[in-house]
């Protein structure tokens, strides 16, 4: 252990990492535009209004409201407790998230967007003022510009930054939502405070095993021999073990990682029996996901289609099935994917059931330069695929679904779920601007 003087010098010379994350992001996005709800419980429901996926602090404090429960089971409790609920408004959350990330960009050239509401920010070369001040500046600027409260944790490694962030929130009035681990003393204190199961990357399975051998805190975990960790928790565990000791080994990725799978599945607005209509919904989802695929210049190898009835209905006969197709050549072509999905759906559809949901998922995603042909099919030439480029260009310019595959049909309104409690898209739609009464 080094003396305090050396210790501080050691930390001041290091590149530090800040984890900035928005508090109850979805719920606070709603509250920014609804001052009448400031200080009141707010929850946001999942895409098909199925369950509660986000809640603000006021709602979490009501112990009666369980998260991830189907809404129809808890609707009475929500109403009784005066909880305001919103259907999810991803257009709004996505736009607000973009603002936060842009603001962070001004603080550091290295920002890794980790999820819709959190980012790692690399901080190096800060000598003229304290890291604590810097953290507060990030927090205050984001709050002033967007109205969104954030927490900031600053430490020498990503795992420690995550932990610092947690501490900033747990002792909110003491630390004011900013916490910095910049000395050995603070690091050890933080590790002693943290339950090992709350450490980033340690799953519940490992946490249980650690508990069985008497390891409860993160500090006790770091005292285990490296060999034990490697043997029982693989190299991933060793990385966490090292990061907790201040040795950075999880690299900084400034480019978004290509997705492992892209999927979409939404409940229908009403139960559907007719194959035709289900097919149109399925084609619609394929159009959405293949566009995402093209935007990130990649191709999918596998296509999964699934279909099921309403699990929660006692009256309906239940059926569900799913099928995964290996594509002869990885592709991002909407038309190929739609026709493959149509075949897949034909194979699993059974008449006589009232279906609630159809979904598609593309996986085995690779950059499109890596697509190889096979003996019978030459590799595709993307620079020649004018049709899809034009297709995307038109839809970008004139709005989503200006041109679409004929298989998508024109009955979207008939099967699409109307989100009744969705807030206006304040920041992206001219007709849905925030209204101020005078």
């Amino acid at each position: 252990m080094c003396s305090l003087g050396n210790d501080q010098l050691y930390y001041s010379l290091r590149t530090m990492i800040a984890l900035v994350d928005c508090n109850s992001f979805y719920a606070t996005c709603e509250q920014v535009f609804r001052p009448d709800l400031w200080g009141t419980p707010v929850v946001v429901l999942s895409n098909n209004d199925g369950c509660v996926i986000a809640a603000n602090k006021e709602a979490k404090d009501l112990s009666e409201i369980p998260m991830f429960e189907p809404v129809f089971k808890i609707k009475k409790q929500l109403i009784k407790n005066n909880v305001t609920f919103f259907s999810s408004n991803y257009t709004l959350y996505g736009e607000m998230s973009q603002r936060v990330m842009n603001i962070l960009d001004a603080f550091s050239p290295q920002v890794e967007i980790y999820s819709i509401d959190e980012a790692f920010v690399e901080i190096s070369g800060i000598k003229h003022f304290s890291l604590n001040t810097y953290g507060h500046q990030m927090k205050d600027t984001i709050y002033q510009y967007t109205g969104l409260p954030v927490g900031v944790g600053i430490a020498p490694t990503k795992v420690l930054a995550k932990l610092a962030n947690k501490i900033s929130k747990k002792r909110a009035h003491e630390n004011n939502n900013v916490f910095v681990i910049d000395s050995e003393k603070k690091r050890i204190e933080a590790l002693r405070w943290a339950d090992v199961k709350t450490i980033w990357g340690i799953g519940s399975k490992h946490a249980k095993r650690l508990k069985n051998i008497g390891v409860f805190t993160a500090y006790e975990f770091t005292q285990l021999p490296e060999e034990w960790v490697r043997k029982n928790m693989t190299v991933v565990g060793v990385r966490i073990w090292k990061e907790l000791q201040g040795e950075s080994c999880i690299e900084f990725k400034t480019m978004p990682k290509p997705k492992q799978g892209i999927g979409t599945a939404k409940s229908f607005g009403k139960k559907l029996e007719d194959l035709g209509m289900i097919q149109e919904a399925c084609s619609y989802y394929i159009s959405e996901v293949s566009e995402v695929l093209r935007n990130q210049k990649s191709c999918a190898t596998y296509l999964q289609v699934f279909l099921h009835t309403n699990y929660f209905s006692d009256r309906d006969k239940q059926y569900s099935n799913s099928i995964t197709v290996t594509l002869s050549i990885p592709t991002c072509d909407t038309f190929t994917l739609i026709s493959e999905a149509k075949k897949a759906l034909d194979a699993i559809y059974k008449p006589g059931y009232r279906y609630k949901k159809v979904g598609v998922c593309l996986s085995g995603i690779i950059p499109r330069e890596y697509v190889q042909g096979n003996l019978f099919i030459p590799p595709p030439r993307w620079n020649k695929s004018k049709l899809l480029d034009t297709f995307d260009a038109i839809n970008r310019k004139y709005g989503k679904s200006t041109v679409f595959s004929g298989l998508v049909g024109t009955r979207v309104k008939e099967w699409e779920l109307i989100k009744e409690d969705r807030s206006p898209r304040y920041t992206t739609q001219w007709r849905e601007l925030l209204k101020v009464k005078s």
């Binding site: 603002r99 109205g147 925030l434 209204k435």
Partner: protein, 122 residues
Amino acid sequence: MEIFTSGKLSKVKNRHAPEVSKQTGFPSPATHYAEPSIDLHKELITNRDATFFVRIDGDELSHHNILHKDVLLIDRSLKPRPKDLVLVVQDGVFKVIEFPKNPLDTECVLWGMISYIIHYAR
């Protein structure tokens, strides 16, 4: 639903650049002076990440030159000075007021400063 006509811009037709003969004739004298056309978004918004649009509903603000259906640009990054028009929250309700000389005396929360008022003249 109420349909707003003000402020909606109809789409501008794509103007194809006329082909200029490469072999004969004089090049346009404007070639070296070409600049992009005026982009209101660029002119009126200095901080995109802090700017929000709101629409006024009602005629009570006409003394501030703000009329029914006007769109306000709110720039939350600007620090208001006394007499600047600001959007505030009072008892959970949005209000447009002149920024007071002693902001601490008033019981409202500043939401943002009004940087522009967009009014459809027709």
